[in-house]
Symmetry: C2
Subunit: 382 residues, 2 copies
């Protein structure tokens, strides 16, 4: 089966390498015949082209693997490939989460499918496991450490009593964090992954912007000291819960009990767990990024298409996000905590509060009125 590659960076070159090397008989059934590159300096292979039409209009190419990153032109190319009757595999979580309604509709109208294993958790077979579990069970909920960068920062702050700004700089120096770290540290990267996990777990198209999202930008050594002294570990978690008429979904730092499996996920690992009726909880742990693991996930999806083992035939429906019934206890650090008296259960030293058990939306409404740019909020496991 002939495959066209859009993009030849970290992931795209990994996909080319795996398919060219053909380690298994399944992979040897695949062939990369065209590769879109950015400029002439990247034209190191006879298959490279600067013109996306060479891929989109090639009738022999059945699958387009989009590994460009960014919103445009990745979105336009993916859409045109679907319209041309080609299956699309993408590792681009931001693009797919942003345009999923449009792209899933386009795929369906054209009798093709869009696959996105590589969009979450690098090489962790998260999407494939959801597909498999769903053959027997409805998925009730999922939760995960979807972002290795923030896990790296939190783990080192926690164990070495370091400040956020220092650790971010080190993560950038080591290549674990981008120069513009916003998507990671403010939780947007996890938000995209939660949106796509809702698509796979619940056949739901959700508005990613409605996923309540708190990051770790404001976390301090003092917050983590409370966390440690109270027997917790701190992880940035993405969560989704199915409620038939709506989905509860959020991104939030969580103070987990030390004996929770997720409390002990080291450094730049990812870990994701699904819950369903008969299987119960099943968790997957692995390095969440890297050229070859992510490329491996792209190639797996190409093989899914080649084998016609295709779960992406389920119609997807638009389901609203609604967090009003998600209740929890929240740790909130703000200099304006006196204004939170109505939701406060107890004070933490002179710097923070623990709320009563309240709706996360009640917490959100209370802190929004404070307009404190340095505020930090985390959910506390009960």
């Amino acid at each position: 089966m002939k495959v066209g590659l859009l993009g030849h960076g970290v992931v795209g070159s990994g996909v080319r390498t795996i398919i060219d090397e053909g380690a298994t008989w399944e992979v040897r059934e695949l062939e990369v015949t065209a590769i879109l590159v950015k400029d002439e300096t990247e034209m190191t292979d006879p298959r490279t082209t600067l013109n996306a039409d060479d891929i989109i209009n090639d009738p022999e190419i059945q699958v387009v693997a989009e590994c460009m990153g960014g919103l445009e032109p990745a979105h336009t190319y993916a859409k045109r490939a679907l319209q041309a009757g080609k299956h699309v595999v993408t590792s681009n979580k931001k693009m797919l989460a942003t345009f999923c309604g449009d792209l899933f509709d386009t795929a369906r109208e054209n009798g093709v499918t869009i696959h996105y294993e590589a969009s979450c958790g690098g090489g962790i077979p998260w999407m494939a496991s959801l597909d498999r579990t769903r053959r027997v069970d409805d998925i009730v909920s999922f939760r995960g450490i979807f972002n290795g960068t923030t896990n790296y920062i939190l783990e080192r702050m926690f164990h070495e009593n370091r400040d956020f700004a220092d650790m971010l700089k080190e993560a950038q120096k080591l290549g674990y964090a981008e120069q513009d770290p916003t998507d990671d540290i403010d939780g947007y990267d996890v938000r995209y992954k939660v949106a796509l996990s809702c698509a796979k777990a619940f056949d739901a198209i959700v508005d990613a912007e409605k996923i309540l999202t708190y990051g770790i930008r404001n976390i301090t050594a003092q917050d983590l000291q409370f966390c440690r002294d109270s027997g917790y570990a701190c992880k940035l978690m993405g969560k989704g819960e199915w409620h038939t008429d709506y989905i509860s979904a959020m991104v939030i730092p969580v103070f987990l009990h030390a004996d929770d499996v997720f409390a002990n996920i080291p450094l730049n690992f990812n870990a994701i767990e699904s819950n369903s009726k008969t299987l119960g909880s099943a968790a997957f742990v692995g390095q969440g990024a890297g050229s070859l693991p992510t490329a491996h996930a792209v190639v797996q999806n190409v093989i899914d298409i080649w084998k016609d083992q295709d779960s992406e035939i389920n119609p997807k429906t638009r389901v609203p996000i609604d967090n009003q019934f998600h209740q929890g206890i929240y740790y909130i650090r703000t200099v304006k905590d006196a204004l939170l008296a109505s939701i406060t259960d107890q004070r933490v030293g002179d710097h923070a509060i623990l709320t009563k058990k309240i709706s996360v939306l009640e917490a959100e409404n209370a802190i929004r009125t404070l307009a404190d740019q340095d505020l930090f909020i985390a959910e506390v496991a009960e």
Copy 2:
């Protein structure tokens, strides 16, 4: 597709319940039409029978799910079902590991397959993940905490400084350990799972009795105190490594670094990890037993057969187990440690030694000559 059940205990009744309830369209394609039970008190359903021939000779039954446990008559029934042209799904690790050469051959001669997801890790999709990974990568090695009972005992001994005998009694009281705990605490249960993981990961039929097997029967609070004081955690691990001409495979307590993901697997959980070239390490964590998770795995295999998504077509070859090149540092506690001078690197207090880095077979040969019934050995992570 019509399914016959052999056995209606914890797992078998779970399989019947999941298929009868038919939560998904895939499950609704399946139907349990006959159930072999042990005696008349179990004949609570019109489909029950006391005669295995009612299942094995029924031409309409395409799949037989063996959930009886024990070696016989489970082995004979499974073999006769294969000879009658029926696919077999089994949750019976001891039976399949013991007779795998015979049963895989019989399946192949009769153009059918034998599936065993439920034999390892309860509901953890370990076998399915190996199948999927192998579409792109050769598996290089695997390691795992395959036994929840011993993990429960070790975790509580470690954190509560308790004695082995006390903790075993508590595990038995709670139903986590059998009244005859030999299979669990002497490592035989893990040995069977390692043998079957070799079958799936490497297409290899191995002689389970050649898998070097050490258990935790002799572990003491003193051993765990050294472990804790030195920054380790102790887990009973099963391991397998592919070396083309031979497989290295063993069951052994391991002192793991505290930051190893596997060091922090709580109580009665299982965790298993594969390593392969492009995916790297991928780990799966879940409750390793229980009626519904194990039954879920059986039903998944039935759906694999129904969907003809069948990896079990690969021919399997007999591959020898050889551990002579597996090197490590070993903690050995024995009153006869003076006799281990030639392999000793340093003493641990007055009760144990740490070896130089040696072949595990050299360690095995040295301790075998001691004939110390109370000896405890563990591998120490480097």
